[in-house]
């Protein structure tokens, strides 16, 4: 089964989502995404770090050095309140967008204007 390339901007959303429950370091985020997407996403690992830095720059994430279970020094990322707000808003947008596109693609010839629900 071919893997899906990520649409632009969606990675940020997925990273924020990953951090909703607990702070994680980079590799934890990657594995969480792989598990959540069931290995269906096509993503270079380095792209994730770029996304993380970008989110940190925008104040959606905060970072600090911490120690892993195996006593390794790792940079832990934590979602900020601004990040949560951003995630909420963007998730809503995405759902609406995806719903609309789905509705249009599955509509018949005489479709009324599509209404999409999120």
């Amino acid at each position: 089964m071919p893997r899906l390339p990520l649409l632009k901007g969606t990675l940020d959303l997925l990273v924020l989502r990953a951090l909703t429950w607990a702070p994680m370091h980079g590799f934890e985020i990657v594995t969480w995404l792989e598990r959540a997407a069931n290995g269906q996403l096509e993503l270079e690992d380095s792209a994730l770090y770029q996304a993380v830095y970008r989110l940190e720059e925008r104040g959606f994430l905060a970072a600090d050095w911490g120690v892993t279970e195996n006593n390794r020094r790792a940079r832990y990322y934590k979602i900020t309140a601004a990040g949560r707000a951003h995630l909420r808003a963007e998730t809503k947008n995405w759902m609406q967008y995806a719903g609309t596109v789905t509705a249009v693609l599955s509509a018949g010839k005489d479709a009324r204007p599509a209404t999409a629900g999120a």
Binding site: G26, F27, Q50, A62
Partner: protein, 886 residues
Amino acid sequence: MIRSGIRRVFALALRRRDQWERDVEDEIKLHLALRAEQLAAEGRSPDDAYAEAVRRFGPLTESRARLVEAARQRERNMARTEFFADLRQDLRFALRTLGRQRGWTTVTILTLALGIGATTAVFSVVSPLMLHPLSYPHSDRIVFVNQQPAGGNNTGIRVTITPSMPVVRAWQQSAHSFEQIEAYAMSPMSMETTSGEPSVIQTVSVFPTFTSFAGTQPLRGRMFTDAEIHAREKVALLGEGFWRERLGGDPSVIGKRITLDDTAFTVIGIMPASVDAPGIHAQPSDVWLPLDIHNDRRGGQVVARLRPHVDIGTARAELDSIYKRDPSHGAAMFQFRTVITTPGEQVSFRESLIVLVVAVALVLLVACANVAHLLIARATTRRREMAIRAALGAARGRQMRQLITESLLLAFGGAIAGVLLGWIGLHLLVAMRPRELDALHAAHLDGTTLAIAIGVMIVSGIVFGLIGTVQSARASTHDTLKAGSVALNGTSRARGRAVLIVSEMALSAALLVMATLLIRSVVNMQRADLGFQPQGLYSVTLHPLKGDITSKPRAAAILRDLTTRLASMPGVRGVAVASYPPGTRAFLIGRLEVEGETPSGSTTAFIDDGEVAPNYFRVMRIPLVAGTLFTDTTSKSREVLINAGFARSHWGRTSAIGHRVRVGPYVDAQWYTIVGVVSDVKTSGPGTESNAPMLYFPWTEPADSTAPPELPALLVRADPGTPMQALVTTASREAGVRGTPQVDDVVHTIRGAIAGGRYIMLLLTIFALMAVVLASVGLYGVMAYTVSQRTREIGVRIALGAPRSTIARGILVRGVLLAIVGAVIGLAGAHWATRLVQSSLYGVTRSDPWSLAAGVVVLAAAALLACIVPTRRALAVDPMTAIRAD
């Protein structure tokens, strides 16, 4: 909500570049290691697992570069965000602190505003007057060239001799010091208008080369040519302003004719409004005419552009030698010397304007000093706060930043208030301007000065703010906290404040003395005996009648008619003819010779003269001291009246009557017999010398020739409340002339003559008072601070039985002593500074004891006032509270 800046709660200090680069490196390494472990756990060999980890990560070099770049951008943006967050915090904190000390803040901001506002307003007035009087290219090399008697100017006013046309031509041909020498003549002329009443317009006559000199071209049409000048063509260019305002900018005017002083001129072009008429404070020229090159008797004023790097001395020597080389133009008879002045030197009230600049600079200094010790005193009282903050972990750099933010905030407030004050001040200055400085109406707020003034204030704010911090930083946190509120009151610091206060007082004293000298001068001028009675006296200038007067007999008829009609009007007591009205002076150039005596001194000086009707003295109320008035008023009359000062200085107690005088060394100079002596007068206002020789010749009716005559003035003595302008208008209508003579109340003329001095006096007084107020505020600050620092000591002394009066005296004496020491130093300074106002003094000397005393007394009084509140506070100290306070 976690603000982005909060990240630093974890990371604390900002990280340096090598650090975050290493962080990125570490992160990649960890990721690869964890991924390889994961893959190995799935059963791959270690090497294979690592290779796969790298493959999934992406091309290593590129990815790493991309990540480092992303991290760099992140760091940069976060640093910026953090800076602004800190700034916001600093600002909020500063606003809160300043708001708590509202009185202190207000005083500081007002001080800053006064400094900035006063400086800006004054420089905005002075700079257009002094720095940019003429807008020609290379204006730094533009000079005016005149002549003066070799013995100098003996008149006490600015008066020069315009070089004759042959002299100008000789200079133009031979002088190497100049790029270009231009002659010009300005004169009002009367112009025929369609409404019938001729109007007076301002004309300037120039050579065709003037356009290249002024770096301009006619807006429309063309400049006249050399050929036209030589052929005496009657052509004219209109000034753009005149053309637009009076002719509605009608382009078809070119080729049409205008009539000026009964001569028709063809309009050939329009001169742009951007060209200044040559001459300082000159009115815009309505019409530009060709300069009459053939009329050698008429002088030409000269404006010239020096060659680069030629100094004025060299140029003057060259013009002098050219003048002396050629005796044909009277060089043998007169002793003239060339005078070269820069446009700046020709500015009216130049000395006074310089005085103002000095004065306002002093005010700015006082303001700076005030801000300085306001800030220092505050920093000292806040040392405990600073120490506590330091103890709680505030970095010293961060504290500095906080203090600088406060200073800047103050400076900002001061700047805004200063701009406002400057704007108001400038409008007041412009509104109060005397007529001589009418050019001021165009003055606007000078941006450069504003920037400099604000800059000075900000820098002094930061510098002194920092001095305060550094001082507090020097004492260790531990010591300061332990010392309690009886802060280490270092004597060196107290001495520093005393020095500041003494200097402020000294500057204020110097300004006070200068202002008092000027006030006394103006009062003296207003009280001065002019030698005639200006109240109820009106001068009627006939210039607007020029268009009516085509010949001398016609002029004589009009004059006679007007005089008779005016004299019979109700309320009019007398009408006399004189060659010029009060407020104006005319001079003969030459040497005053007394018959039978060997002439002494220079052959050339200015000698006041006037031609007046016999009843002039009665109308002016000038008493006849000896002899009689004119008995012969025909053109053959050889009678002269002189002033008492001249009679006294030349003939002493013996009578001057019957002696004969003449103005030489003209070959055909006639002797005139002194028939009477009249008392001294100052017709041009109190500032003029009244003992200098003054010759009155009889006014004779213009007759014979057909050339238009110079028009005299009529002096009218009338009862108070007489509507003179209306009477003159009626009389002119009845006499059948079309123009309306100009009527001036001589009281206004005289007042106008001292208006300039009064203006400067007023400004200087304002500055002096500003300085005194500022200095007193400073003194108040220092004394209040001293008392608050010594509360405990005072409490102890009271508890030990010291009488409160002793304590109060101690504080008052200290304050007033500071003021008096300052005042004494200031008086010494005033001795030097008053040289600047020397030329504006009238009836007082620079060392006038009253003015000096006034300086000290006002200052001491202000100091006393400033000390009252601190003293009362000291008296109110409750010993128990004071001792227990810590």
